[in-house]
Symmetry: C2
Subunit: 98 residues, 2 copies
């Protein structure tokens, strides 16, 4: 109920956008969204930042970089979670139809 | 070239994810992405926050909320910008084929 204690996060906001449309994504759209992901260079960089973070070696700018990576990953995760559910539903209706 | 002065933003990171795949989105996927947007309640809230922001009336938590809205809007914008380009390309190839 409260609208005060903490600001709605980017994740909260994106989740509302993605979930307000009850319609599942089409199979084609779901697959396109599931193909989105960090490229090789970004994955190497994330691993490097995460390893150095565990040793407490990150500068403030690197901490921000790491948390930007984490947030983008979470945002993608919201889209991909609906994509996965959409594929499951599509499978189920196909099974039922057959 | 520099990797120091400022952390790559969420937008920088998402743009790399979206642009690394040179393939355009399918028409179906592009249209699904262009349908994503803030719902009525969020739009009312954004207008309210923006109006009060212009008068310098936002609390720190409300400032964070507004900037979360802005960032989610920018992230959607990155996906939708590729979606729009994809639709244009699809149109162009249809015109050329016809």
């Amino acid at each position: 109920m409260s609208s005060t204690a903490e600001a709605p996060s980017e994740m909260d906001i994106l989740r509302r956008i993605v979930e307000q449309d009850q319609e599942p994504f089409s199979v084609d759209t779901a697959q396109a969204l599931l193909r989105l992901g960090f490229g090789e260079a970004d994955r190497v960089r994330i691993d490097e930042l995460a390893a150095r973070n565990r040793k407490g070696e990150l500068s403030p700018i690197e901490e921000e970089e790491l948390s930007n990576y984490v947030r983008v990953g979470q945002m993608l995760g919201i889209l991909q979670s609906k994509a996965r559910r959409s594929l499951k539903e599509a499978h189920r209706s196909k099974d039922n139809a057959g």
